[in-house]
Amino acid sequence: MTTTRITRLGLGAAVASLALLAGCAGAPAAAPAAQERAAASVDLPATVPANLATATACDDGNESTMSYEPAAGGPTVDAIRARGALHVGVSADTLLMGSRNPLSGQIEGFDIDMLNAVSTAIFGRPTPLQIRVITSAQRLEVLEKHEVDLVARTFTVNCERWETIAFSAEYLTAGQKVLVTRDSDAQSIEDLEGLGDQRVCAPEGTTTLERLQETYPGVEAVAAPTHTGCLVLFQQGKVEAITGDDTILAGFVAQDPYAKVVGDAFSAEPYGIGVAADQVDLVQFVNGVLDQAKADGSWAASYERWLGALGPAPVPPVSVYGRVDGP
């Protein structure tokens, strides 16, 4: 495992990573809305993962996870309120985070809960989101073109993305892991490299795919339009493994009992809610809502409901503020 990447240890992030790692192999067997949850009290892995940093220092002098101070809103929030609906870009096929429940037809998951909290705060009462289903690759584009107000779609905060859009404070820390077939002995992508001729899938337009191509030339990186597209390829035997955030892989294990998530996280993925770069007041408003949710226990309740398979709800990631717009 890579232990050389430690640059900085965010306390909250480390706790969250530990908690997420705990449940890697114990995702529920099946559950449409993930209610029926196997009490997956998996022992902590013997190898305590490296203390992976969630934040990196960007060229503009800010930490990547650093966002704008919470505030009560401004013109953007007023405009949304006047319009009557919050427009959001989400996933419809990432079980547990944002997926369409085929029984009810509703899109639900941890990401959706966060957005609902924002919508409720804007309008003063629960108000249906106007949902736009997007792929990973569309996330930046829909914000840059102002086609949606917010994007919550397992969206990793990083310096490069800060150049074109803005992010809320971190609301969940995921870690990149690898999913293999139940009978595989591989514990990491390095193991897969050792086996040779292994194909590993990751979705287009994600940090995961980039890292896979750059760091692991020994495996063949296969791109699919969505995470779920990777699961289809995996089930059809067209790839041997999938790499992605543990939050997403947990959803796959829930859909496929012949899949398992192995090894330690080899990167920390701080999730943020994406906002257009010129709508700082909306970012500030969202941050206020997230802080509230982290403090009043609703964040933990959502975590338990959707990601309980990864272990008991950890301490929420600590919001870091003080972003100053770069030179």
């Binding site: 099946a30 029984l103 037809g105 736009r132 597209g229 699961l231 089930q235 859909q255």
Partner: protein, 430 residues
């Protein structure tokens, strides 16, 4: 004519020609120099000319009959392939629409899907048997269909358990259909439509073969004019009747083959054109219906699908506007497209749930009902015009063959008559 060649006048190497001039030359030139010989040659020419009329007639009749039956077979094959294509897009439209409903798909929709797939599979096997030229592409299409149905079942099984991966399987199924099955069928449709066009062209051009008969008739007339000069008699009865028969046979053949060609031409510009247009429009409409479901499944990211919808329905409308097509069909298509606008309006206004409810409603007047009305009318019209085309093509082939053989008989008769006519003149020299 006699000629004496002086030996000294010739070069040394020259072979001296016998000086004696023959009184009776032998060989063809000899025969031609005398009247009975010339008469015999005239007899042969007129016999050949008369027989040629018969042979040309038989060939024309057989060629036209073959072209007609080719056109009929290729039309049937073409309609059959389009039927299969339609079955497949119906199946896909049904599967994607049912997916909007959720895990518990309505039994009627399931039945409609099953029926369409069964009909397509049946059709593919029959088509492969009926024209060997199409077998390879049909084989590829069949393989693609197997993959497609497998993926749909996988989508269904996952959907039934509430797994979102089901949607990804459905997506893949639809793209397999559009990449591995429909293009092959489209290629076959094109190939068969080219073949049908070629057959129609030869049906139309065959009667012109009879124009060769004019040469034969001209030969008969020339022989008679020459004979009249030689014998100072105005008419040779045998040759006269031979000419009349050959002329009558040529005119009769031209009339019958020409009318068969005209009938086929009418079928080509009427019911055949309608069959092909309606079938294509029907296919496009079903394809558009799948796209409609995807605009909703993709929820907000379906702009590309909507573009496809507009493109396909516009194309279908253009086809239905052709003068050969039953004018009742276009308004039915428009009704359905208008109801699609309602779905779009709801979805665009953020009322996705209501849009889906409208899209899957089986109530009278709902989009599904209007689509059903259009597809029933289109199928009925399609079957009717295909039947008319088949009747027009299969009816004329028999008469073309009959006329061909009749012309041969008449040609032989005319040949006999002309030989007898000449023979009488020849006998006068004995």
């Amino acid at each position: 004519m006699t000629q004496t060649i002086a030996p000294h006048a010739a070069p040394l190497t020259a072979v001296p020609t016998p000086a004696s001039a023959p009184v009776h030359r032998t060989g063809l030139r000899g025969a031609l120099s005398r009247t009975p010989g010339r008469l015999r040659v005239a007899g042969v020419v007129s016999v050949l000319a008369a027989a040629a009329v018969g042979v040309i007639g038989l060939n024309a009749g057989l060629a036209q009959s073959e072209a007609l039956s080719d056109a009929d077979a290729d039309t049937t094959q073409l309609v059959g392939i389009q039927d299969v294509r339609n079955d497949l897009v119906v199946a896909d439209a049904t599967a994607t629409n049912a997916f909007l409903v959720g895990g518990l798909e309505p039994p009627e929709q399931r039945a409609r899907y099953d029926e369409a797939v069964a009909s397509a599979a049946n059709g593919l096997a029959q088509l492969a048997g009926s024209n060997a030229a199409d077998a390879e592409l049909l084989g590829q299409a069949t393989a693609g269909l197997t993959t497609y149905t497998g993926l749909v079942e996988q989508a269904r099984a996952n959907n039934r358990q509430g797994f979102p991966v089901g949607a990804a399987y459905l997506d893949q199924a639809s793209s397999v259909l559009r990449s591995d099955v429909l293009p092959q069928l489209d290629e076959l449709v094109q190939a068969n439509s080219d073949r049908v066009d070629a057959s129609f062209d030869s049906v139309a051009s065959v009667p012109w073969l009879l124009a060769l008969g004019i040469l034969a008739l001209a030969a008969l007339v020339v022989v008679q004019v020459w004979l009249a000069r030689q014998t100072h008699r105005r008419l040779n009865v045998g040759l006269f009747w031979a000419t009349v028969l050959a002329l009558a046979a040529s005119i009769g053949g031209a009339v019958v083959l020409g009318s068969a060609a005209a009938k086929a031409g009418d079928a080509r510009n009427g019911p055949y054109d309608a069959t092909v247009s309606v079938s294509e429009a029907y296919s496009l409409a079903n394809d558009a219906k799948s796209q409609e479901s995807f605009t909703l499944i993709k929820r907000g990211s379906g702009a590309a699908y909507e573009e496809q919808f507009v493109l396909k329905t516009d194309e279908a409308r253009e086809l239905l506007a052709r003068p050969t097509v039953d004018p009742a069909l276009a308004p039915l298509l428009d009704d359905w497209v208008a109801s699609h606008q309602e779905i779009r309006a709801l979805d665009d206004a953020g009322r996705w749930d209501e849009a889906v409810a409208l899209a899957i409603s089986e109530e009278p007047g709902a989009p599904n009902d209007l689509f059903e009305a259009f597809s029933t009318a289109a199928s009925t019209s399609l079957e009717a015009s295909a039947e008319v085309t088949h009747d027009a093509l299969s009816g004329s082939g028999g008469s073309s063959v009959l006329v061909g053989w009749l012309m041969l008989v008449v040609g032989v008769l005319a040949a006999v008559l002309s030989w007898r006519g000449i023979s009488k003149r020849v006998e006068e020299y004995r």
